[in-house]
């Protein structure tokens, strides 16, 4: 049996109120006023497809054996690097073994499902099968005041695939490739170009039902057996039309999470699949469709192992970790959609020494510190001489991962002086519960809400952007733990 062995998801904590978009842009396009309901997920200024992928993967890998992972596939159409493997940044940040197959999968909205199929195929290879980590993540950038700005959201989801302790068996898949161009984004262009919705609707209603019918036939299945029909779509009525044409019961069509999250692009079929897995009981059939220049259809059936999976955030937990953002200007700023005066302090633009980045990759990306084998003191950074004044042992330290260590705020300040995209910058000393201290930037905090003693969780984020050289510098930050309610 091959299939999903664990799942995870990550949606940014910020949810932009669609009303705020409508109120800002309705004057120029009154049709936007009708769309001003609900909210969409929105990256904080320090989040992108890579950071969200890392968080979704951490959620997925919680309670799992990281050492068993033999491959990481990352699907996205908003990868921050065109020529530096993004899946490699993700795997390094997860501190996975470097004996690993990594791959970026991109260029179509169906990359989420095509990538999942490719990862499932990779998981099949090898005598006993391989353990593959598949992550889909998208930060969806649109022009201001276009309808997609309303429809879209940012998010990521991850699946661990393998043959042991399968929670959802992969029953089979079917793909069609049609160069149906409902939208496209050319090389070097910052935004998608969209064709008319009326025409797109026709195309989707032609391509998808045929593919679903073909897939079910291939698997010897009847459409009525489907318990969960997972397909993202922002065009009203299309999903009901597909279900009708393919014979799927209308009540089995899953909510697209449009009102609470928006469509997270390549990630969305997987975000919805995780949501379905969080609702499903063992023995239920989940049909997943990803659309984009054709479509992929995948069928999963949950197993009794589903209920044994340890609790995790998943899509539902991510949705509950939420803060409403009503400031549309903040959204524009965070997404680089408005040219602003940042002040002279923003001009500090250090170059990243690629030598240092490479040599220190385990420390910088993996947050790996040291653990003194003589006195058992965890410390960051790892060094030749133990920091414990009662020890000072030489060459006594082994690797110690700090990223998943619980911690709390020993002290902090909010700094109104230093440049921050979202001032005032907050940072302070984190005391890890199992030992070790660390001066860290904070993220996802509420101004006025940070307190000494507050529990924090380390999160992988953007530290700074070197716009002149096109480099994004990632590092770990401390986020208040109070917002991370865990749900299955």
């Amino acid at each position: 049996m091959i299939g999903v062995t664990s799942f995870g998801a990550y949606l940014p904590r910020l949810r932009l109120s669609r009303k705020s978009i409508a109120e800002s842009n309705g004057w120029m396009d009154p049709s936007l006023l009708a769309l001003g309901k609900g909210e969409r997920s929105m990256c904080n200024w320090d989040e992108d497809a890579v950071t969200m992928a890392v968080e979704a993967a951490r959620d997925c890998l919680s309670g799992q054996d990281k050492a068993a992972v033999e491959g990481v596939y990352l699907a996205s159409t908003s990868l921050p690097f065109l020529d530096r493997q993004n899946a490699g940044i993700v795997s390094a940040s997860l501190n996975l073994s470097e004996n690993l197959a990594t791959l970026d999968i991109t260029s179509s909205q169906k990359a989420g499902t095509s990538g999942l199929l490719a990862a499932l195929n990779a998981a099949k290879t090898g005598g006993a099968g391989n353990t593959m980590l598949f992550v889909a993540s998208d930060k969806r950038r649109t022009k201001s005041a276009c309808p997609q700005e309303m429809h879209f959201g940012d998010g990521a989801a991850a699946l661990l695939l393998g043959v042991r302790d399968v929670i959802a068996e992969f029953k089979g898949g079917h793909s069609v490739s049609v160069d149906f161009v409902d939208h496209y984004r050319g090389q070097g262009k910052g935004f998608d170009y969209y064709w008319e919705e009326r025409w797109v609707r026709e195309g989707v209603l032609k391509i998808v039902p045929q593919a679903v019918v073909a897939a079910l036939k291939k698997m010897g299945m009847c459409a009525e057996e489907i318990d969960h029909f997972v397909m993202p779509c922002v065009i009203p009525g299309v999903l009901a039309g597909i279900a009708g044409k393919a014979g799927i019961k209308p009540e089995k069509v899953r909510d697209t999470l449009n009102q609470v999250c928006g469509e997270t692009g390549v990630a969305h079929p997987i975000v919805m699949l995780v949501d379905a897995l969080q609702d499903a009981a063992p023995g239920e059939k989940i049909l997943v469709v990803g659309f984009g220049q054709g479509c992929d259809v995948l069928l999963f059936e949950t197993t009794p192992n589903l209920v044994k999976l340890p609790k995790r955030l998943g899509t539902k937990g991510s949705l509950s970790r939420r803060k409403e953002e009503k400031n549309y200007m903040k959204y524009l700023t965070f997404n680089g959609l408005v040219l602003q005066e940042r002040g002279i302090r923003a001009e500090n633009n250090p170059q990243t020494a690629l030598t240092a980045l490479s040599r220190n990759r385990r420390m910088l990306l993996g947050l790996v510190g040291g653990y003194c084998t003589k006195c058992k003191t965890p410390q960051f950074p790892k060094s030749e001489i133990c920091v414990n004044p009662a020890c000072h042992a030489v060459s006594s330290q082994k690797d110690y991962e700090f990223s998943d260590q619980p911690g709390s705020i020993l002290s902090w300040s909010s700094d109104s002086l230093t440049y921050s995209v979202d001032p005032p910058a907050h940072y302070g000393m984190v005391q890890f519960s199992n030992g070790g201290r660390f001066m860290a930037d904070f993220t996802d905090y509420d101004v006025g809400g940070v307190k000494v003693g507050m529990p924090v969780r380390m999160m992988f984020r953007i530290r700074g952007v070197d716009e002149a050289r096109g480099m994004i510098r990632y590092f770990w930050k401390a986020a208040p733990e109070e917002h991370s309610g865990k749900e299955r």
Partner: protein, 381 residues
Amino acid sequence: MGKTYILGVGLHPFGRFDDKSFGELGRVATNAALKDAGVPWKDIEIMYSTAMVQGSSWGTKIARACGATGIPVVNIEAACTSTVVAISQAYNAISLGANDLVLCVGGEKQERGFIPTLDQPSWMRHMGLGTYPAMYAQMMQRHMHEYGTTAEQMAWISIKSHKNASMNPNAHYRNMPNLTVEEVLSSRMIADPYRILMIAPTSEGAGAVLIGSEKAVKKYNVRKPVEVVACAHRSHIYDRDTIMYPPRLLPMVAKDLYEKAGMGPEDVDIAMIQDGMPIGEIEGLEQLGFCKEGEGGTMAVPLKGKDYGRTWIQGDLPVNTDGGYMSRGNCIGATGAAGIAEIVSQLRGEAGPRQVHKKVRTGLVHNMGAGVQCSVVILRK
């Protein structure tokens, strides 16, 4: 070991002096100290010169301005505690008989804006710790959490400081003699909980301290010499970015100092404590043993029925009577000299409107250098 004395002190006022060079600032302070002691420049045996941001061989610029006599010039850098380190070196040289007359002179020409934390690793400077407020703000937040220290208590430290500085012709900020708690707490927030009126200005200026042996005191017939009783200096055993507390540096230095001096905090009548921001004065008072741990914040708050607190000029333990770092200013390489000069003035009874009300015989000067070095000296008349 012979005794060591301060023969004379001299300051160039602290402030902004765009039209003066480093050498000129140092010359003014040096001449004032020489005049105070009645010692001619040509008799100086060795110069210990202190600064933080003057590049290389800054002391020779002062020597050149005073008249190049070919004396050895030793440049000492220990950030804000540079002068006190220089004095402890001079103390060693004189008490061991190597020298009879040593000039410690330092100063600073520096850019406007908060003082850069040149000792921090680059990643911390990019975080915002490229200047000091956020670092000391974090120490303050912890103190507030542990002991309930309040913003109002911090405001009283600022009020006392600015009042004292208004009576000091050498101070940088002399125009805020009557601040109110409300004014301090509504000034611009810099790094929570610190507001602009709680943070030391970045000052230019210079300070000189002439130190000599008993022989020198007699030779020049020095009026009112002040004895250097003991000096102590240590550097941190942890990097500050790794471990903030504990162990703390100052209690270790205080222990060294009191042992060397054969005194305790109860023997100290007046103190100059590093108060670049309120946590400095608060923790300094506690860790030097002048009050209990956690009570430092209460010391400047007016006593019941009085318009002054314990650390005011009228109080039982006057602290930073010249305005301290916070209002007299932080001219890094001369900031310790300013503290020494103030204690000398107070012990001589020559501090004018700032003269403390109590009788004083023993004074203490404390400085932290970049947070990772600490020096304290005890003086006695």
